[in-house]
């Protein structure tokens, strides 16, 4: 068993670096190898409501990129567009050289195997325990023997510090633990990138700290590309390499966290510093206050 484990661990670290190199070699131009996700002129509307109105984004490989913006700017929608769960009205989304919106079902599913996504709620399968949840993608997509699956699952659980919780049901986990289990599941197939949907909301400081550290650590240790969608400015800015700020369907600011903090755009400033009033007004549009009161 120990021997098998050692081999597994070796194999594991090998596959990561090997895949990483392979992928770099596969892609064509020098720019493409640097950029994993390339979004151009993205338009998307839900019914009457325009969510994206010409968004351009580049997510560099191996880096941790944050996409921030006020609530309701469609950050989650953006992740779903990248994952091919939604189709843009116009524009292109290129992931690892593939046009996501044009992929057939088979190709799309192949691509998704190389992506991990961490949902806001964790999205653990409620009828399976922690172990089986992490084993789920392995069992669905590989024919590995049960002993090997067990080793792999325990390794992933060890990475998120929950190896001891393998027999718990999802309902017995705290929110932060559920997210860590989901993270273990997301890296089960050694993906090339992980998308985090609001990973920090509703966490107590301790599990928040654990998650922040874990996301950065996994990104560097596994050579992942990470995309974090969040409106928790402090935590996200602390670990990300590059930040995009989206508001009202457009990218309103981008750059390193430090650069954005000193941005001269009023809107970016308001968002990054959390000011109650500014370009996004505190008051919902209404007629004049005095007039409203007197005309009762």
């Amino acid at each position: 068993m120990t021997a098998a484990f050692r081999i597994m661990r070796q194999r594991f670290s090998w596959t990561v670096s090997k895949n990483y190199m392979q992928r770099s070699a596969e892609t064509t131009g020098p720019a493409a190898s640097e950029t994993l996700v390339k979004i151009r002129d993205l338009h998307f509307a839900r019914g009457e409501r325009v969510i994206f109105d010409g968004v351009d984004l580049d997510i560099p490989r191996g880096r941790l990129t944050a996409i921030m913006g006020p609530s309701g700017t469609g950050k989650t929608t953006l992740l779903r567009l990248i994952g091919g769960q939604l189709t843009p009205d116009r524009g292109s989304i290129e992931v690892d050289g593939l046009q996501v919106q044009e992929l057939g079902r088979k190709a799309l599913y192949d691509l998704r195997r190389r992506m991990g996504m961490l949902f806001q709620s964790g999205a653990l399968l409620t009828d399976l325990n922690v172990f089986d949840n992490v084993a789920f993608p392995l069992r669905e997509h590989t024919n590995l023997p049960e002993a090997m699956i067990r080793d792999l699952v325990l390794m992933k659980l060890q990475a998120v510090g929950l190896r001891g919780a393998r027999d718990l049901q999802p309902s017995e986990l705290s929110g932060g633990m559920a997210r860590r289990v989901a993270l273990a599941r997301a890296i089960a197939l050694d993906p090339m990138m992980i998308m985090y949907d609001e990973p920090f909301t509703g966490q107590d400081p301790i599990s928040m700290g654990a998650l922040v550290q874990l996301i950065r650590l996994l990104n560097d240790a596994l050579g992942l590309t990470s995309i974090i969608v969040s409106h928790d400015v402090q935590e996200t800015a602390a670990i990300s390499d590059y930040v995009y700020v989206i508001s009202q369907g457009k990218v309103i600011g981008q750059g390193s966290p430090e650069a954005l903090g000193n941005s001269d755009s009023a809107l970016v400033k308001q968002f990054m510093q959390g000011l109650p009033d500014g370009p996004v007004p505190f008051h919902y549009p209404a007629r004049d206050y005095m007039e409203d009161l007197l005309n009762a």
């Binding site: 089986d132 084993a135 069992r139």
Partner: protein
């Protein structure tokens, strides 16, 4: 993804119970026995009127079920109903002068064909025709008329 033994056991029991129930419905509740693959032979009989006789109505002899009606047709030339009966092969000694009559089981029951054996030495075989028949409605017409008449005379 371990599946507990009890789950599998219970599902097995559900399926077994369901099949057993279907078996009960087929064997104990319905007339499956008459569908069993017993070999049979066909005889036909012509009636002026078959009344409410239906396909699969019973064919009885001496009150015992010996076969089923297999088909009811109308002969366009002779203006008669033609009834095809499947009679079990084990009852192959019906004389060829057997009389086929259509009776009603009980006052409101369903109609059936009764076979009354005659005295001939020759037996009915597959495809034979029973020559002596008595129709269903003749009797009923008479009874109906009688009842109607007596009712009318009773009113007056």
């Amino acid at each position: 993804m371990k599946q507990s033994k009890t789950t599998e056991l219970m599902v097995g029991m559900l399926i077994a119970a369901g099949l057993a129930a279907l078996f009960v419905l087929a064997m104990k509740v319905s007339n499956l026995s008459s569908y069993s693959e017993q070999s049979s032979y066909n005889v036909i009989a012509r009636f002026e009127n078959v009344g409410g006789l239906k396909v699969r109505s019973p064919v009885m002899a001496g009150g015992v079920l010996v076969g089923r009606v297999a088909g009811i047709d109308y002969d366009n030339d002779r203006y008669e109903a033609v009834v095809t009966m499947k009679v079990n092969q084990s009852y192959d000694r019906f004389p060829d002068d057997t009389v086929a009559s259509i009776y009603t089981a009980g006052l409101l029951g369903e109609q059936y064909v009764a076979l009354d054996p005659g005295g001939s030495e020759d037996f009915l075989v597959d495809g034979s025709e029973i020559e002596f028949t008595s129709s269903a409605l003749v009797l009923e017409k008479l009874v109906g008329k009688f009842l109607l008449n007596s009712a009318e005379s009773g009113k007056k």
